[in-house]
């Protein structure tokens, strides 16, 4: 088992035993993975931040359900993914009739947050939801293709093909923007 996995396991066991300080270590080890997972699904920095917070609260609540020896990263990522999907589904059912609110969401804060992340902005425009999730899980979260296949419950071949295809699309889109 990789050293990182052993560390996260140790901290999760400590948290199970009631040591709340272990949460800070878990947070430091997983914050990028959790944020990228939420961002890939929600495509909104503000929402991703809220869900990220909910994820760690859920980790604290459900820590006794964690099975010692299993992949702690995958357990936390799955929580983040499920919460993000719930949030995404909830938001997709809401249609805003307030045009000023819509304009605000589209233009000001949201737009500004994506100006800080130009590559992600292009990625969310050119890639499908699933493709973006695969790229984020591989590139940012550092999961292996095999692990992504397990998290997304897809065949390994599909993940590999989708990942390579996504990078080609992204490369082409960035090239076009530069021109």
């Amino acid at each position: 088992m990789p050293k990182d996995y052993v560390d996260i396991n140790t901290y999760l066991v400590e948290l199970q035993n009631g040591n709340i300080d272990a949460l800070a270590s878990i947070y430091l080890l997983t914050k990028t993975k959790v944020f990228s997972t939420c961002l890939a699904i929600l495509k909104d920095k503000g929402l991703a931040e809220d869900v990220m917070q909910s994820t760690y609260i859920r980790v604290r609540e459900k820590i006794n359900y964690y099975q010692i020896g299993t992949n702690g990263y995958a357990w936390i990522t799955t929580i983040a993914r499920n919460l993000s999907l719930n949030e995404y589904n909830k938001n997709s059912k809401i249609t805003s009739t307030d045009f000023t609110e819509k304009e605000y969401l589209l233009s000001s804060e949201n737009e500004a947050s994506f100006n800080e992340m130009p590559i992600f902005k292009i990625a969310k425009e050119v890639l499908s939801n699933e493709e973006l999730e695969i790229v984020m899980l591989y590139v940012v979260s550092g999961y292996k293709h095999r692990e992504i296949a397990k998290i997304l419950k897809k065949p390994l071949g599909t993940i590999l093909w989708s990942y390579n295809n996504s990078l080609k699309k992204l490369k082409k889109a960035i090239k076009n923007k530069e021109v």
Partner: protein
């Protein structure tokens, strides 16, 4: 720009934008849930019985299916059912004076055709349910033609497409013919083989 650079840039920009939510998480009061097994004890038998019922239904369907398609258990098999799955044809020839009746059956009891040859003419009789029925029809025809009387002589020949079956089939046909003749009161008829 290379793929490697794109990946690195994407990773860096996400890492730089990760919000800090730890203080909020730590300040939120949380009630840690006690671990409970997902399945309650009263649910377990339900699942076990459900699969048991399903298995029983499947078995019943399988048994009915096999029974339906098995050869030799059809309702029209009045004589000895054929225990083997081997298919063969039997040609039974009944000769009375210048009448020659041919009954062709598949596996003894499945009658394929009944024909009577007389004076270079061939008469085809309506099909029968089984061999006994076919023999009865032939005897009726011969009686109507006044070819068969109580003192007549019948020549019987049986030929099966599988040699091993000839003797067994002959005995079956002979018994059947004798039964038909007795039922019609033609007890003095001589059967030649």
């Amino acid at each position: 720009m290379k793929k490697k650079d794109i990946k690195q840039m994407l990773k860096t920009e996400i890492e730089q934008n990760v919000p800090d939510v730890l203080s909020k998480v730590l300040s939120t009061p949380v009630k840690v849930e006690e671990f409970k097994k997902e399945t309650s004890p009263d649910k377990k038998p339900y699942f076990q019985f459900r699969y048991l019922y399903l298995s029983l239904v499947m078995c019943a369907i399988l048994v009915i299916g096999i029974g339906f398609f098995l050869p030799g258990v059809k309702s029209n098999n009045v004589l000895t059912p054929d225990a083997t799955n081997e298919e063969y044809t039997i040609t039974t020839t009944i000769g009375v004076e210048d009448y020659t009746a041919n009954i062709v059956t598949s596996n003894l009891n499945n009658v394929l055709s009944i024909s009577i040859l007389h004076n270079d003419f061939v008469y085809t009789l309506q099909n029968a349910n089984n061999l006994t029925d076919a023999i009865t029809k032939v005897i009726n025809y011969l009686q109507n033609e006044n070819a068969l009387q109580s003192n007549s002589s019948i020549t019987l020949a049986v030929l099966a497409s599988i040699n091993d079956k000839t003797e067994q089939s002959f005995n079956e046909v002979k018994t059947s013919l004798q039964n038909v003749l007795e039922s019609k009161g033609l007890i003095d008829v001589e059967i030649k083989y």
